[in-house]
């Protein structure tokens, strides 16, 4: 016998994500989900961003990683509270993992939580984790074909950062094509060109981020 169902497969995850979103709103905490390939520069961007933001805001970081706590140690070195989630082979963070992690944070003292997702351009885009916005880092060494190969993550992101822009003279990265494809996928999205190593373009990104925080609150 055929039984009609009409249930979203991710409904359970989405319900927890909505609860988290309500909790963060109630506590007035701006949460963003930082995504990108392994090696795109997510942790480097986080380090550069935190160095500026900790001057004005109370921030905590949740680090998603398959097995290690190397990234968490880099953040810890900046004096920022950090919670490590090891997915033990899992390719993304889900809302339930974030729900567990925030239990260890003092939410009454925080202005912002940055969640660094597992390095991956596919799965993290599928799973809402209670964030106010998604941000994706694409480094120029990955190739300009990535937005069309992984459209969902670029479509869902409020901002895309083109990282390692200082390497443009040395790699065959067609920036115009990458930017055009991102704009087609996501006409409202913001694109920032940065280099975390050469410290290029970071001030514009950080100013924008502060603006987003202000608008949220």
């Amino acid at each position: 016998m055929q039984v009609e169902v009409k249930t979203n497969v991710l409904a359970k995850n989405d319900a927890i994500a909505s609860d988290l979103q309500r909790l963060f709103k109630e506590k007035n905490i701006f949460v963003f989900n930082l995504m990108g390939s392994p090696g795109a520069g997510k942790t480097s961007l986080l380090e550069a961003t935190l160095q500026e933001l900790v001057k004005d805001y109370n921030i905590a970081v949740i680090e998603g990683d398959l097995f290690t706590n190397q990234d968490a140690e880099r953040i810890h070195a900046l004096g920022v509270p950090v919670i490590q989630i090891n997915t033990v082979g899992g390719c993304h963070l889900d809302a339930h993992m974030i729900q567990d992690a925030v239990e260890d944070l003092d939410l009454d003292t925080l202005d912002m939580i940055i969640i660094e997702n597992v390095g991956n351009l596919v799965c993290p885009a599928e799973f809402e984790i209670g964030e106010s916005m998604k941000v994706t880092v694409l480094s120029v060494t990955e190739g300009e074909d990535k937005p069309l190969k992984y459209p969902l993550i670029f479509k869902e992101s409020k901002a895309v950062l083109l990282n390692k822009i200082d390497l443009l003279p040395y790699v065959p990265f067609n920036k115009d094509k990458a930017v055009k494809d991102i704009r087609n996928l996501n006409p409202q999205g913001f694109i920032f060109e940065v280099s975390c190593i050469a410290k290029d373009g970071l001030a514009t990104w950080i100013d924008w981020l502060k603006e987003q925080l202000k608008m949220y609150r």
């Binding site: 979203n8 497969v9 599928e126 479509k155």
Partner: protein, 113 residues
Amino acid sequence: MHEMSIAEGILDIALDTMRQNNGIIIHSVQLDLGLMSGVEPDALLFCWDAVVKGTAAEGSKIDIHTIPITGQCLDCDAVFDVQNYAFICPHCESKYINTIGGRELQVTSIDID
């Protein structure tokens, strides 16, 4: 590969539905899958065969119904097929587009006994 957690999610829904309807066996699951859902059909089918082992859904099939990417212009209301991932209205070139199809990941029905 998140298709494994997706397959587990589908199995949960299927088993819940079977119990609610006093069924004992699941023959097939019908799934709407948007072209931009981020789920790879072949990987999903592979994972499905693995997660159903030893359950009432062992040996069952997933029928995947692929849904194209459809946009609706918020300025001129035109509904259009999104080509080459360009979310720009082909009629008025507006960039304010609501994605009304293509993100589906929904169990629509289940065949049980």
